[in-house]
Amino acid sequence: MDFEITDYVIDPSFLLAGLRDPGAGACVTFEGRVRNQNDGRSVEALEYQAYAALAEKEGERIIAEARGKFEIIAARCVHRTGRLTLGDIAVWVAVTAAHRSAAFEACRYIIDETKARLPVWKKEHYAGGAAEWVNCATRGPQEDAGGKMK
């Protein structure tokens, strides 16, 4: 299983131990962390929800695509669910390869596709108590007649 949705704290050192390989001259990792602001609003916490059965299938497909596109040895991606606070790791990606360029490119591919395709949602909790599901705002039934996505 190269892709996982988890409700537990992500532990990079534990995950990296599973990627040790004598042929890996490169290991690139990416940590997506909870940031203190978004679109000019002060964020205090994030709540992630996932459609886990489909998210894990789609995540495995993304990693399989990365294996097909880049000369890599292994890849892992883990995405959190639940309530996270500032600085917590929300998503973690690691790729090993013989050489660095494939590892960088595959890592970039995996995080970009994960953000675009995974059925995972986040609710931002703002200073002052308001909260909003990111990307789900509407002003009314007519607003999206053109089908454009934010």
Binding site: L54, L118, V120, W121, K122, W133, T138
Partner: protein, 81 residues
């Protein structure tokens, strides 16, 4: 044709429906018809063109026929990472 399906809700749809899931009987033919039926009933704010749909844990086109015992999930705009 009447059929009974299970609908699971996530994120903003879960909040607007007030349920994680429900089993419903519908005459909706396609997944798109089913969303419009539920949207009218529960006043979901998101129009169908901003959602995707999954049936039995796979993404499917909106024109897919809904069948007896299907598990249908309407997928709001995602925001992982």
């Amino acid at each position: 044709v009447k059929k009974t399906v299970r609908v699971r809700y996530f994120a903003i749809l879960r909040e607007q429906r007030g349920l994680d899931e429900e089993t419903i009987t519908t005459v909706a033919s396609t997944a798109a018809d089913l969303y419009e039926e539920l949207r009218a009933l529960h006043r979901f704010t998101l129009p169908g063109n901003r959602l995707r749909v999954a049936i039995n844990d796979e993404f499917e086109p909106w024109a897919t026929q809904v069948r007896e015992a299907d598990v249908v999930v309407f997928i709001p705009p995602v925001a992982g990472g």
